[in-house]
């Protein structure tokens, strides 16, 4: 499974939800499918995308928050699973595209290539709904299931170590933040 194809499968379902991505390939690929005001690309501070997602999910409990993360990033902040499990926000889905490498900086293998299992770490951290798949049809079904589950959830998607040809995005970092913040502010909650 390629990450870009997996993103394409779920792209329509990202509408009206709050999307936080990790830096690098996942941000560039989601952007290449078409930027929306409800997408925030965290272009640095590796590891913190899920913490931003948790802060957002706790602040806006009636809006679905989806974090699109990577294995290298999650390995830098494994405590995030424990913190998410402790508060268990039902509106938070943490998707991890695991390509077993730090692709954006040259493809160095991460520890998931030598046996570390992020789904099992999530489960052992207390996240009851954690899944892993290598199959794109399965990924699409699990994604739909996860975003409708009444607990925080983790979905590890094992993908090929292939990224976009270019990482450039015509969107300033602060511009992205202001636009995203305005979008959230404009949502009319029940």
């Amino acid at each position: 499974m390629k990450r870009i194809d997996a993103l394409q499968r779920i792209y329509k379902q990202l509408d009206s939800k709050l999307i936080i991505t990790n830096m690098g390939a996942v941000a560039a690929e989601l952007y290449s499918l078409g930027h929306r005001k409800n997408f925030f690309y965290l272009e640095h501070s590796m590891g913190l995308a899920s913490s931003v997602g948790l802060g957002l999910a706790l602040s806006k409990p009636n809006i679905k928050v989806i974090v699109l993360d990577g294995d290298g990033s999650v390995l830098m902040n494994l405590g995030t699973f424990s913190t998410i499990a402790r508060y268990n926000p039902k509106n938070l889905t943490h998707v991890i595209f695991d390509n077993e490498s730090l692709l954006s900086v040259g493809g160095f293998p991460t520890a998931t290539s030598t046996g570390t299992n992020l789904k099992e770490i999530a489960v052992s951290s207390g996240i009851k709904n954690a899944f892993e798949t290598k199959d794109i049809d399965d990924f699409e079904l699990l994604f739909e299931k996860n975003i409708n589950i009444d607990t925080a959830s983790v979905l590890v998607s094992k993908v090929e170590a292939k990224g976009p040809e270019k990482f450039t995005m015509d969107l300033g970092l602060i511009e992205n933040k202001i636009e995203f913040k305005r979008y959230i502010n404009s949502i009319k909650e029940n």
């Binding site: 925030f40 965290l42 272009e43 640095h44 501070s45 590891g47 913190l48 995308a49 899920s50 913490s51 931003v52 997602g53 948790l54 802060g55 957002l56 999910a57 706790l58 602040s59 806006k60 902040n77 405590g79 995030t80 424990s82 913190t83 402790r86 508060y87 970092l173 602060i174 933040k177 995203f180 913040k181 959230i184 502010n185």
Partner: protein, 169 residues
């Protein structure tokens, strides 16, 4: 040694008066009452962290949602959070109200706190983070309010160092 309940209450009330709705924290001796007040308050969301840097992410999420937040940590937690502070809060202009227990300053008895204490203010200065030191109950409310105002207006991290004289009886 006892941690001052009265001065902890003063700090907590001041944070509440600033409109803080989310507090992230990692336990530290001097912060024990502040964390307890946050947990017991139905109008406050306490987020207990595994590592302090996560708190920068929590505050960023709260900021995007329009909520005010504060971080409670020891100065060593601040030192452990530097990349998040620089490459999330400063890069994306996220207000951070950091309430930091200032261990390792004059009067410190624990040898292990002393190196971090020595480098806390110089690190804050190197990072261009405005900070103030609170060492008496009279200045708590005013200093916290002013720090909260500056962090919101500048959309940047601002630090308050709470000292032994304030926190320990």
């Amino acid at each position: 040694m006892a941690v001052s309940v009265k001065n902890s209450e003063l700090i907590y009330k001041s944070l509440k008066n600033c409109g803080v709705k989310i507090v992230s924290a990692l336990p530290e001796t001097w912060l024990v009452h502040l964390i307890r007040f946050s947990e017991e308050d139905p109008d406050m969301q306490l987020v207990r962290l595994a590592k302090e840097e996560e708190g920068v992410g929590i505050s960023a999420g709260a900021h995007f949602a329009g909520l005010k937040s504060a971080m409670l940590m020891q100065n060593h937690g601040f030192l452990a959070s530097v990349n998040g502070i620089v490459s999330l809060a400063q890069l994306y202009r996220v207000p951070l109200l950091m309430v930091i227990s200032y261990r390792g300053e004059m009067g410190e008895t624990d040898p292990w706190q002393t190196e971090g204490g020595l480098r806390t203010e110089s690190t804050l200065k190197a990072l261009d983070i405005p900070y103030d030191i609170i060492d008496s109950p009279e200045s708590v409310e005013k200093k916290i309010n002013k720090a909260a105002v500056l962090s919101e207006s500048s959309e940047r991290p601002v630090a308050l160092l709470i000292t032994r004289d304030l926190m320990v009886e």
